[in-house]
Subunit: 255 residues, 2 copies
């Protein structure tokens, strides 16, 4: 296995845990990171509680190459992510002059005023680097290996898409998927044999229901593209030999 950078996503928000809001960022980040060859190793959803945010940021930033937080960077009293990240790094929270300039320009463009409350969105740990926001006024920021992003999906995507090219990636992970109406229990023995032939790959089996009938997707995944193709061909033949009708689910997808 070639070493690849790792990542964790930290979703900060009571509204996800209460069920009020459905997270719409994790899958986006997961797909983009995979395509870049960055291994997303953990995602965590935590509440807007200072001690929890501080401790989790410190735990995750020590474990993974990149951390991406989402949520809690607006101007209201429950937006405490910037202050908590500063505390996690033992840094003062300061008003970032370039962030002030961005906000000033943004609100001028709207014929609106940069109020004291809106200036809260320029508060960041001392030494933070801005992450450009092509969608609205308030930039994200980066400090150490922690990238602080907003929770609103369209704004998060805008910032992340500009950020991604600057991150060091790893060898891209390639995957091929064969689906069929065979049950997992019908393929398990021979599927494991193929896994053992290709220890450098991850072979995964994902059951679902389609039209009420058990459907199983078999995925071969790894950075060794030739091995992925070879394992894929064997899985395809295995499904046929077991009486299934193999469907090639993806042409040649990353992830």
């Amino acid at each position: 296995m070639t070493t690849a950078p790792t990542a964790a996503v930290l979703i900060i928000g009571n509204e996800i845990l209460s069920g009020r809001t459905v997270d719409a960022n994790l899958n986006y980040l997961a797909v983009q990171l995979s395509q870049k060859g960055i291994l997303l190793r953990e995602a965590r959803v935590i509440p807007d509680v200072r001690e929890v945010i501080v401790a989790t940021v410190n735990e995750l930033r020590a474990k993974f190459t990149y951390i991406f937080t989402t949520g809690g960077i607006g101007p209201t009293h429950d937006d405490i992510t910037a202050a908590c990240v500063a505390e996690a790094f033992g840094l003062p929270l300061v008003r970032h002059p370039d962030a002030v300039a961005r906000l000033d320009e943004y609100y001028k463009g709207l014929n609106d005023t940069l109020t004291e409350i809106r200036l809260r969105m320029a508060n960041m740990p001392e030494g933070a680097t801005l992450l450009e926001n092509p969608v609205s006024g308030a930039p994200g920021f980066k400090i150490g290996n922690v990238h602080v992003l907003p929770g609103v999906p369209r704004i998060l995507r805008g910032i992340f898409d500009l950020l991604l090219p600057s991150l060091a990636g790893g060898p891209p992970v390639v995957s091929r998927t064969v689906g069929s109406f065979l049950k997992e229990s019908e393929i398990a023995v021979q599927f494991e044999v193929i896994q053992n032939e290709y220890p450098q790959l991850d072979l995964g089996s994902y059951p679902s229901l389609r039209d009420g009938k058990p459907y199983t997707s078999l995925v071969a995944k790894g950075t060794d593209e030739a091995a992925v193709e070879a394992a894929f061909a064997k899985i395809f033949e295995m499904v046929k030999a077991l009486g299934g009708t193999p469907e090639v689910v993806d042409a040649k997808a990353t992830a």
Copy 2:
């Protein structure tokens, strides 16, 4: 704040972290737990890696009243949740006789055979209690405060819906929401004043874009229903006074 039971959801699955699959269980569990008065305090997505699963199960079960795991309980080589939960509890993995009976009955009903591979789904930590599965053959199980559920959403919901009435709940959390096209920065000062008047409530502000325009949902939430109603009325008047057009988003919802 009245004490309420707490919970964590542990989503086990490489496919979520690679972006291949969008999690469809967290929000369902979050809503159901909220309605029951159980506080979901954390959700974590981790890969199918033995040491990570064992360590995370042990960390979370010590911290929260209830743990719910999803995924990894099928019959294939990558289904290692049951073995990892057994290891976390220091218990042997044994074949549960009642689970064998359930599987036998299920496959007989399909005019199919309970093969050795399918019997893997009856492997559970010694002393586990079955969680009935009204949808398909393989039951979930419970050991200590850890509830082990499948990843397939329809099956997870079937098992969880039967399980939920047996869990001790807390005082139900009530919430009211006012939405408007005011920006967060326009309401932040006065919204914080209302929060300070009702320290027993959580007042949250959730920005989004609607038709490309900033839209803000203001939520008052807590177990003190009278206080929630009073804070809701004040938020509604605040939005009007600030020139917004308040919309009552929920009639009277839990969460």
